[in-house]
Homo-oligomer: 198 residues x 2
């Protein structure tokens, strides 16, 4: 049993993963949870590319490094004290290629306009992250690789957009709970500006 609240409070971005093989039965259990997520008009506009081939994984890692060095690193915010910038830098520069599995979550623009896909794709992505954690794996959600030529590398048709890249594997580091601003500081009562706490 993996209690939802306990998982939610333990969820972290695992940037460093062991290269050990992940059994396909576990990948399947995770994806079978992903497709239960909601989507607009139940259009289920997701497609998944599960990358285990070392060459394709390396191509995704290369595209990610190029996107990071090419523009994203410049716009990133090392000064955000709860953002582990140094780890992200190591991840984008090389650690991603260690992940034994990379799930690329794609959205289908034949189901709806690209700008509307987020609400029908990222709940499924969150199920992947929670499902992986429930089975003892680390993962993270990154959109960075989607700014590189991932669609071309994977041979996606024109209607499919890569929207999230989720590496999965056994965690190489133990991580504590996430650092967050308390919910009460982000919550308003009935109208904006009326404090929840009163």
């Amino acid at each position: 049993m993996s209690d939802f609240f306990e998982l939610a409070h333990r969820q972290r971005a695992h940037r460093f993963l062991e290269p050990d093989h992940v059994p396909e039965a576990d990948i399947e259990r995770i994806l079978d949870a992903a497709i239960r997520a909601p989507s607009a008009q139940n259009t289920q506009p997701w497609q998944f590319v599960v990358v285990q081939d070392p060459q394709v994984r390396q191509m995704i890692a290369n595209a990610t490094r190029e996107a990071w060095v090419g523009f994203a690193r410049e716009y990133s915010r090392p000064e955000v004290d709860t953002y582990q910038w140094t780890d992200t830098d190591k991840w984008a520069m090389e650690a991603l290629s260690d992940a034994p599995v990379i799930v690329v979550v794609c959205g289908d623009t034949q189901a709806m306009d690209a700008g509307l896909l987020g609400s029908s794709i990222f709940p499924a992505a969150q199920n992947i992250l929670l499902g992986a954690l429930a089975l003892g794996y680390g993962s993270l959600l990154s959109t960075l690789p989607t700014f590189g030529p991932v669609g071309e590398l994977l041979g996606l048709p024109a209607n499919l957009i890569p929207m999230a890249v989720i590496p999965i594997g056994r965690p190489a580091r133990r991580l504590g709970p996430p650092k967050r601003v308390p919910f009460a500081d982000k919550t308003h009562r009935d109208r904006f500006g009326q404090s929840w706490a009163g």
Copy 2:
């Protein structure tokens, strides 16, 4: 204990809710799970407006009905056989106003461009849906009301965009498991077009 996989497989859009009061301790437990969700560079670009005031709830319901009748109904797809169009129509026309709690999830454009917010907002929204279900509530994720004047009604500042509206309450109907295309039909091995199943 609420097992994640069991919750994921039971999750449904609950469009019909009992008007009974939801204890604030439950709302708080749900939001405290929401803020553990991942976000780009840990920017946590969410703000929540928790609407319990009957007048404000009715204003949101009215704005939703207007958006539905005004344009969305015309673009909706009653022919999708797994999409419960008739229930959505009843929901948008009147049933939403029965929900004792409506959580409006907002995204902060000071954290990132509006077009990038989805990957940092909808995982938190999914945590709200799963957390509500774990505590015995029904909920659903709708973006429909955000096409109406919800931001103005709630007095949101210019940098906050309403991105999801989530009514929460005790389910008025028992719902079976969701209908989905099997994951294997949506999953590719290493590259698009290579069947997962082989």
